[in-house]
C-alpha cells in the first residue's frame, strides 16, 4: 500500500522486515494474492533501487518460496481435494491481483469443486473489479462505490449464500456493500471454506 501510493522509501523497512522474518523459512504461505503480487512485482525493483545487493540476493532467494494460499495447494502440493465439507452454495470472485498479476484462474475453482456438499455458482461478469483497490477506496470513494454497486448486482444474481475470494480486501468491500443493502449473502475467505468440516457457515 505504501509503494502503490508513492511512499517508496517508507516501504523499504517493510521489505527488509519481511525478508528477515522469513529468511530461513522453507515455505511462506500468504492468504492474500495482492501481497504476493506486490512481492513478485516490486521487491526486486525496490532492492535494486536501494542499491542493496544483500537485500536483492535475499529477496531473490526468498521469492521462490513464497506462495499465495491456493497456489500452494494446487501448484506446489498438487492437491485439489483437502477433505473439506461445506454444504452451501458458493460463488467465487477472482480478485484483480490474483487474476491479472498472478494469473490464478482454475486453481481455486478446482479446490471449491472438491468440497463435499458445496454447490458452486457462476458469478456473472466475474472479472470486473470490486472497486476496493486499497487507497483507491478512500481517495476515489465515489467511483469505488459505483464499481461495488455493479459487483453487488452480479453477486445477488449469482444466487449463492456465500461469496468467496483469495483476498480479504475484496471480501471486506463486497461485504460492506451487501450488508448495507440488507443482503443475507455472507463473505468467506477460501481458506475458511476449505477448513470447514461440515459445521454451519
Amino acid at each position: 500500500m505504501h509503494y502503490n501510493t508513492g511512499y517508496h522509501r517508507e516501504a523499504v523497512p517493510l521489505v527488509r522486515r519481511f525478508v528477515q522474518m522469513f529468511r530461513e523459512t522453507e515455505c511462506v504461505c500468504v492468504p492474500s494474492a495482492s501481497c504476493v503480487a506486490m512481492m513478485r512485482e516490486h521487491y526486486e525493483l525496490i532492492a535494486t533501487q536501494e542499491n542493496d545487493a544483500t537485500l536483492l540476493a535475499d529477496v531473490q532467494s526468498l521469492l521462490p518460496r513464497v506462495f499465495e494460499f491456493s497456489e500452494l495447494l494446487t501448484e506446489r502440493l498438487k492437491v485439489e481435494d483437502v477433505g473439506a465439507s461445506f454444504a452451501h452454495s458458493v460463488t467465487y470472485h477472482p480478485s484483480c491481483h490474483s487474476l491479472r498479476m498472478l494469473n490464478i484462474r482454475e486453481g481455486p475453482l478446482k479446490l471449491l469443486r472438491a468440497v463435499r456438499g458445496l454447490e458452486l455458482r457462476d458469478l456473472p461478469e466475474k472479472e470486473q473489479c470490486c472497486g476496493f483497490g486499497g487507497t483507491f477506496a478512500v481517495k476515489n470513494a465515489d467511483v469505488s462505490a459505483a464499481m461495488l454497486e455493479a459487483k453487488e448486482v452480479c453477486v445477488i444474481q449469482a444466487g449463492a449464500e456465500v461469496v468467496t475470494a483469495l483476498d480479504n480486501s475484496c471480501l471486506m468491500q463486497i461485504y460492506g456493500g451487501l450488508h448495507r443493502a440488507g443482503s443475507p449473502v455472507k463473505t468467506m475467505h477460501i481458506a475458511e471454506i476449505l477448513a470447514s468440516t461440515g459445521a454451519s457457515a
Binding site: 502503490n4 501510493t5 484483480c96 491481483h97 491479472r100 498479476m101 470486473q128 473489479c129 472497486g131 483497490g133 487507497t135 483507491f136 481517495k139 476515489n140 470513494a141 465515489d142 467511483v143 459505483a146 464499481m147 455493479a150
Partner: protein
C-alpha cells in the same frame, strides 16, 4: 514555454469530477453499453489472430527502437517529406503549434474569415487549436462524426476513439435539430446519418483548407498515414487546396514495412474491426491531384522530456487504440469527461500529467489495462 494538454490545468481533480459523472445515470448506461460492445468485438478479432502477442511484441520493439533514435527518424521523415513537396515545421509547445497553423492559414488565404475542415486530430485538442483558430477569425469544422456531434453540442470529447460515447441517439437528434435547423428530424440512425452527410458534404465541397492529425508518420518515405471509418478523412486530405497535418513526434515509425504490424493491431484493438474502411497514405504534393500545399507540424509539447526516463518513455509507445479505456472499470463508471483531458482513461491518467510534469490525480488501480 507553454506545454499544455487541453484544459487540464483548470480541470477539477479526478475524484471531484468523477462524483458528478457518477450522478449521470444516462452517461453511465451509455458508457457501460458502448465499452461492453467494443470490448467484446475486440476480443473476437483478437482471438482469430494466431500471432496476436507476436504482433504486439513487434510493435513494442519497433516503437522502442524508434524512440531510442527519435531524432534520426524525425530528421529522415522531414527530409523525405520535403523532397516530395511537403513542408515540415517544428513546434516546441502548444502555443507554437497554434501560431504556425494560424500563420500558414492566413498566408494562404489572406485576412478574410476562413473555414477549415478538420479530421482525426486529438492532438489539436491537446494544444487547444480551435481556440487559437477562432481568435484569428478562422472557423474550425469538425468532420469526424462524433467530434462533429461534440462540437455542435458545445461539449467535450469523452473517449479517444469514440468521442461522443456519452451521447445517445435522442440527444444527438436534438443537437442536429437545433444546429442544422431540422425540426422534424427523427432519431433513426439512417435519418441522423443522412443529416450529418448533407451537413458535411456541403462543407467538404466548399472549404479550401484542411487540418488533419496522423496515426503514423513513415520516416522512410516522408508519408503520413491516417486510418478512419467514415470517409471524411479522404475528403479532408484530398479536396482542400491546402492541408496542414498536426502530429506528435512520437508517431513516427521507420519504414513502410512497419505499417504491416500497426495496421493489423490498431483497427482490431480500437474498434474490433479487421481493417479500417479507409487507410490513407500520402506524401508531399502532386500538382493537379489533391492539395497544392501540404504542411506537417511536428509537435513536442512535453514529449522530449518523457524520452529522458526509460519508464516514462514507454508512454510514448501508445498507438491510441483506446482499448485500455474500454477495459477500465473506473472509466466504465465515470466516462472520459471526469478525467478533464482529451486523453482520458488509463493512458490519459498517465499521459496528461506526464506531458505537463504534473502529479497524476488518479492512482492506478487494478490493472485491467495490461490485459489488453
Amino acid at each position: 514555454m507553454s506545454i499544455r494538454v487541453g484544459k487540464t490545468s483548470a480541470a477539477r481533480t479526478f475524484p471531484i469530477a468523477a462524483k458528478e459523472a457518477l450522478g449521470n445515470a444516462q452517461l453511465r448506461r451509455n458508457v457501460h453499453h458502448a465499452t461492453d460492445v467494443i470490448r467484446n468485438k475486440r476480443a473476437l478479432r483478437v482471438e482469430e489472430m494466431p500471432d496476436w502477442q507476436q504482433l504486439r511484441d513487434s510493435a513494442s520493439a519497433i516503437k522502442q527502437h524508434t524512440l531510442a533514435h527519435l531524432d534520426f527518424y524525425l530528421e529522415e521523415f522531414s527530409r523525405n517529406c520535403e523532397s516530395s513537396g511537403g513542408k515540415v515545421h517544428w513546434a516546441r509547445d502548444a502555443d507554437e503549434a497554434n501560431a504556425i497553423a494560424v500563420k500558414l492559414i492566413c498566408e494562404f488565404a489572406g485576412d478574410a474569415p476562413q473555414e477549415v475542415i478538420k479530421v482525426k486530430t486529438m492532438t489539436s485538442d491537446e494544444v487547444q487549436m480551435n481556440v487559437a483558430l477562432e481568435a484569428a477569425d478562422i472557423t474550425p469544422i469538425e468532420t469526424d462524426l462524433a467530434d462533429m456531434i461534440v462540437q455542435l453540442g458545445h461539449d467535450e470529447p469523452s473517449h479517444i476513439v469514440v468521442p461522443a460515447l456519452h451521447k445517445n441517439r435522442v440527444e444527438i437528434r436534438d443537437i442536429f435539430r437545433r444546429e442544422m435547423n431540422l425540426p422534424e428530424l427523427t432519431e433513426q440512425p439512417e435519418d441522423l446519418t443522412a443529416a450529418a452527410r448533407r451537413y458535411l458534404r456541403e462543407r467538404f465541397l466548399r472549404t479550401k483548407i484542411g487540418i488533419s492529425g496522423a496515426n503514423f508518420l513513415v520516416a522512410e518515405t516522408g508519408a503520413v498515414c491516417v486510418v478512419e471509418s467514415e470517409g471524411n478523412g479522404r475528403m479532408c486530405v484530398t479536396l482542400p487546396e491546402m492541408l496542414v497535418t498536426l502530429v506528435g513526434i512520437e508517431k513516427v515509425i521507420p519504414k513502410s514495412q512497419d505499417l504491416e504490424v500497426f495496421l493489423q493491431l490498431l483497427p482490431r484493438s480500437a474498434t474490433g474491426e479487421r481493417m479500417n474502411p479507409y487507410n490513407s497514405l500520402w506524401s508531399g504534393v502532386t500538382i493537379g491531384d489533391g492539395p497544392r500545399e501540404f504542411h506537417v507540424i511536428l509537435l513536442d509539447n512535453g514529449r522530449t522530456k518523457l524520452l529522458e526516463d526509460e519508464l516514462e518513455r514507454e508512454t510514448l509507445q501508445c498507438i491510441r487504440c483506446g482499448a485500455c479505456l474500454n477495459a477500465c472499470p473506473v472509466y466504465r463508471e465515470t466516462g472520459g469527461l471526469a478525467y478533464g483531458s482529451i486523453y482520458s482513461g488509463p493512458i490519459g491518467a498517465i499521459l496528461s500529467p506526464q506531458l505537463q510534469s504534473l502529479a497524476p490525480t488518479l492512482d492506478a488501480l487494478e490493472l485491467s489495462c495490461p490485459d489488453v
